[in-house]
Symmetry: C3
Subunit: 320 residues, 3 copies
């Protein structure tokens, strides 16, 4: 029987079976979000703490909605309003929270490895990595996969091309890992300062010219160019970057017919991706967000109430 | 049959029937807030997102309490802890949120017209304008009207005098619109830099001397003097402003017997309104806040579960 | 019959019977937090407002979890995202909130006496002081007492030694008051600038040398050294402070066998308390946090639904 847990720290270490199991579970939860009464009792009496020590709107909101629609008690802690800055270590903050008997701690943190660190000390609750530094953001890669699967009808035999600051993107890293596990082709394209040759060790094809990279792509994914990185040594000039790497209609035309456009967001129109492409029929931007809630419901379910269920039992286990 | 929606963006465009219908609905919800168990199932399984991109305590809390007492899942997003500043446009933020299947987005925004902008792109959820720049704050005008109605026993044949920075008050604007629709007399009084002659086009009588304006008033409403506006070109001197326009007992005496004192708050005692007046028997300050929760319950109900119900059906529709 | 309320502003004024009654109630709620479904209907339809005008993670989270596990609607207001700074007085903010019909307002405020001030004006809801300036933090002292009782099997005949900035610690103050009511011995130890002779008026023994203070102690409690106070006139040098007053293994050895180590947190390892001591078998740090949720559940229950119940009736009153 496939099982998930005790934590979800990254795509690294997951098997193909686990990924497919999570996606199949999420598929079932998708329907809940289309109901008139979007509420299931799956996590009644469970406590989910969203410990977001980096600013976030979409990921925190997505986890919070997922938890609440499953009837969990959701608690938000953000860096801004908390005493996290009183000199306490992350481990002591986490041990304190654990003593309040949460079932899941969802952690967003600026340091790579933060959720792994917690997993070493927290023995009584599950941890979900909601983005740690430049490392991983597994729920994002899973929702991207669910989105691709639902549109293309398959998760194998895919060529995924990621554009932009792959060097400092945890989303890119989790997507590379996931699609390599599934045996898909992954390409990255960016200025050579960002799309480095080292990525080839991860089984990735590295490009510097968009025109070369997009040919034959089933999916083009535009990565966020973080403002805080602009004018650093890797991206000296934003105008030049956009001229070369902003995903536009001409790139979609060079790719496979009906090539999908994805962007984990937030994105800036005209910088990472052209407005007509975002709003066009090949864009899956809204689908990604929609599937994000379902994937997070699945993760919360599988780490708590649904621990150990095999897929057909989800409804029986009170899931939906 | 009277109906409301799909959005509540302002008083502008509302009919007398719609205003009365909202107030009649709110009247029924008032009772819920006096119960020992303040909880009704009206919005079970609905998701309400409070997107407050300007700081707010009372309005956000009022909407949040309204949503929770109706069993909705309420999600707060504030500028401080969110990634709204990552360069994403308001429209893209809203489209992202819409993909998470909320039923209502309550928007507070510093730009006039922000909620109208959202209404053009969001097709799957209702929007409530909780204050947009200098434009409108419709739920405030509605709660003010409910408060007047409950104390005076009528909503017509009323003279309402608003004191202060009407030029930059969305509360004033929504109140002017509402009472003009109802056929009431509206007066404004402030230094001529604020209470401009242009307001006469809205059917308002413009005064610069308190003594002239308050005579014959049924209601005096003191508007907030925003600190950020002090010492600007319109209000050079706070002491002088307060000496001339701080609502005091002498003004109530000049008005009709039992003239009501209202203030949308927050207010500074001794600046916009005298402490004895705020705490006196003619003050409706607490009633306004109390009715605010009921009005917001009514709006949330009428835009979701109660869509299309006529008033006597509210209980049947699971409202209360 | 023992009763609590209408407010919980401090340990001052409580009787031994009241303290024991709260702890006995909390004892029963402890079990709820160990269940698979951590949810009881005790506060269904009640509204709890967490008005935290000073940053806090653990206390706010603890109250929020307590409220939600009892099915209350919990509303958070923090200084950061609110309009509290718009010039409104604390009293007017509180009167506004009261008009929204909360059952309990939990107040954290930087000014000593803030919750007493509110208690003078709020007549329709209960107030819990969650820390006011340098004054009191009663729920912390109660959870500390529950922790001691559960480990030592008694709450009398105890010697409690508090280390550190007792002068500016509301936790220390509440603990001194509580243990003096129970007739226990309380010692304080710190540099003479902090552990002043005036404390002897509270029935406390004052020490300046750790080696003298800890001998015969049943409990050593390490107080937080607030960073904002460092290098002030009382604590000129952190290194010297830590060398003299950081609680270490040698101090536990000088105390009674199995002397307990407590720290209200957050603490900085190596400054107020040694890491080996925090993680050692005599440390009750996690127990304190765990009991915090139970104590806050008890307070919320006794001030609302459970008002007037005597202890054996709690289950009957729908408490658990």
């Amino acid at each position: 029987m496939t099982s998930i847990g005790p934590h979800v720290l990254g795509i690294a270490g997951m098997s193909r079976e686990q990924i497919e199991f999570i996606l199949a579970t999420a598929q079932q939860f998708r329907e809940v979000n289309t109901r008139s009464v979007k509420k299931v009792p799956s996590l009644r009496g469970k406590t989910v703490i969203n410990l977001f020590l980096e600013p976030s709107t979409r990921t925190r909101t997505s986890f919070e909605i997922a938890a609440k629609r499953m009837s969990a008690d959701a608690i938000n802690i953000s860096a801004g309003t908390s005493s996290v800055t009183k000199g306490e270590t992350l481990i002591d903050t986490a041990l304190t929270l654990q003593a309040m008997a949460p079932d899941v701690v969802v952690l967003r943190h600026s340091e790579s490895g933060a959720s792994h660190l917690l997993a070493e000390v927290l023995t009584k609750c599950a941890i979900i990595n909601a983005g740690d530094g430049l490392h991983e953001h597994p729920s994002q890669a899973l929702l991207d996969a669910l989105t691709i699967q639902n549109r293309l009808g398959r998760l194998s035999d895919i060529t995924l091309t990621m554009v932009g600051d792959v060097l400092r993107s945890r989303v890119a890293r989790s997507n590379i890992l996931l699609h390599r596990i599934l045996g898909n082709k992954v390409r990255i394209v960016a200025p050579p300062t960002l799309a480095r040759k080292e990525f080839e060790k991860m089984g990735v094809e590295v490009f510097s010219r968009m025109e070369d990279a997009v040919v034959g792509s089933d999916v083009i994914m535009s990565l966020r160019m973080k403002f805080e990185y602009l004018k650093d040594i890797f991206v000296p000039n934003l105008d030049e970057y956009s001229r070369l790497y902003c995903v536009g209609e001409k790139h979609l035309k060079l790719a496979k017919p009906d090539c999908l456009l994805m962007a984990p967001g937030p994105f800036v129109r005209g910088v990472e991706v052209d407005s007509r492409v975002v709003d066009g029929p090949q864009s899956l931007v809204s689908d990604q967000v929609e599937n994000g809630v379902a994937v997070r419901m699945a993760l919360l379910f599988l780490l708590t109430t649904g621990k150990g269920v095999s897929q057909p039992d989800i409804a029986e286990a009170g899931g939906i």
